[in-house]
């Protein structure tokens, strides 16, 4: 029986691991691992003996991948990190996503500049996936403020969804051999064509593992006031697809802002989805009062969840991978802030409290019950 809740918290200054009993009354913190080096991606691989992985983005000496086989008491570098071939001309700038593959030691990794790598030996060696990394669009993608990153990898049998900022949503239906831009209904506020074939600034994509046809997307919204060519583009920020990502439609109505970074789906209910709206100009909490918003009807309506969160004078940002949810019967949400706070929203986000309030700026939060 699962008996521990493990949190991986990637920060500007390394990886922290927090552990609690299932009651989640208190969490014990350890770290930082990869001390002093930014961590943008983490994975808690619960297949068999759990393994923890984290990227380590060393500004001096390049990218490393950290691996722990003892639930984050100790981490060691894998034998190598993803790397482009010398003749490719690109150089790895960051690792933005780590996901488990099919077999025990299979890993998938999304990097900057936006490309996909796979490992079949637990991260010791890596191979580039050419179908997307050398896609005809790849050299036309543009970096967003966070860099040209592949931040989302969702897999469902032979179906692979990728989220790229700024590249959009790409879909493979042959296990990752070939990919097609699949952005019908995904808007772009920063391009002359409001609905281009590709090039959207997708912030994050999420779905429930047992409802693979239903996808949710936090896109780069905040274009309702745009007065340039093409006119305003309201409500392009929060989207839903019911056909495996082939078409998308807005579910932003009722939110205070359609701008934000993370989007999370309830572990037991594909209809329940969470976002954390931010003001588009500052990328901070609307009115200085942070809140998670929950929809229990697939985005048809939204409810504000803020009990226990600051009511004013709070201007942090929550980055794209900095919100996650555990899979306990009464699940808790977790989000980390750019001001170094780690919040827990117990009882499905109804009651919030701060677990740690002085960590370094937080880039990613992953949780698992092991």
């Amino acid at each position: 029986m699962p008996d521990r809740v493990i949190l991986c918290i990637g920060t500007k200054k390394g990886l922290f691991v927090a552990e609690a009993q299932k009651t989640r009354r208190s969490f014990a913190l350890r770290g930082p691992f990869g001390s002093g080096v930014a961590v943008y991606a983490a994975l808690i691989d619960t297949r068999g003996t759990p393994r923890l992985y984290a990227s380590s983005c060393n500004a001096f000496f390049g990218m490393k991948v950290l691996r722990s086989t003892d639930l984050g008491k100790e981490f060691k570098e894998t034998k190598s990190a993803p790397a482009f071939a010398k003749e490719d001309g690109r150089a790895l700038a960051n690792i933005w996503s780590l996901e488990a593959g099919d077999r025990k030691n299979d890993l998938w990794c999304g990097v900057e500049p936006a490309s996909l790598f796979r490992s079949s030996d637990g991260g010791d060696s890596w191979e580039m996936v050419p179908g997307i990394s050398n896609h005809a669009h790849a050299r036309k993608w543009q970096p967003g403020n966070g860099g040209l990153c592949m931040h989302t990898i969702l897999r469902d049998g032979d179906r692979v969804h990728l989220g790229i900022s700024t590249g959009g949503h790409y879909l493979s239906e042959d296990g990752g051999t070939t990919f097609t831009a699949s952005n019908h209904g995904v808007g772009a506020g920063f391009a002359p064509d409001p609905y281009p074939e590709f090039g959207q600034c997708v912030h994050k994509i999420a779905r429930h593992k047992d409802a693979p046809g239903r996808l949710y997307m936090q896109n780069h919204g905040g274009w309702a006031e745009w007065d340039g060519p093409g006119g305003p583009r309201p409500d392009i920020g929060v989207l839903r697809s019911d056909d495996y990502g082939r078409t998308w439609r807005s579910i932003s109505k009722g939110l205070p802002s359609d701008f934000g970074f993370p989007i999370v789906v309830h572990p037991q209910d594909p209809e329940t989805v969470y976002v954390l709206p931010l003001e588009p100009t500052t990328r901070t909490c609307p009115g200085g009062a942070p809140a998670v918003w929950r929809s229990e009807d697939g985005g048809g309506s939204w409810r504000r969840l803020a009990r226990g969160l600051p009511k004013k004078e709070s201007f942090f940002t929550v980055q794209r991978d900095a919100m996650d949810m555990d899979e306990l019967k009464s699940p808790a949400l977790y989000f980390g802030t750019t001001t170094g706070q780690l919040w827990i929203g117990r009882d499905d986000g109804e009651e919030w409290s701060c677990l740690f309030d002085s960590l370094p700026p937080i880039h990613c939060v992953k949780v698992a019950v092991v």
Binding site: F60, A81, F84, K86, R90, L92
Partner: protein
């Protein structure tokens, strides 16, 4: 032509904790090429995939930054010391 490479502490895990490596090379470029073969993880920490020295890594031959000499083509003579130093940056 034996020269010495001084390895900074953060990179010694790439070379079995050695603080110094001895090798024979006529230029900095040739020394790095040897490192790529003998210690690929150390090499990758100094240079990216394109072979470019990483932006925040400085290479010195004795007391001279290679950019003030002939870059990676800076010649080496026996007894030279290549120092790998991370730049002073961060926040």
């Amino acid at each position: 032509m034996t020269i010495k490479i001084h390895v900074p502490a953060p990179l010694r895990a790439c070379c079995e904790d050695a603080s110094e490596l001895m090798l024979s090379a006529p230029s900095v470029r040739a020394a790095l090429e040897q490192l790529e073969r003998s210690h690929p993880s150390l090499y990758r920490s100094i240079c990216d995939e394109t072979g470019t020295v990483r932006r925040h890594v400085n290479l010195f031959v004795n007391t001279s930054h290679v950019r003030d000499r002939e870059g990676l083509d800076t010649p080496l003579v026996p007894g030279d010391v290549i120092m790998i130093l991370p730049a002073i940056s961060g926040g």
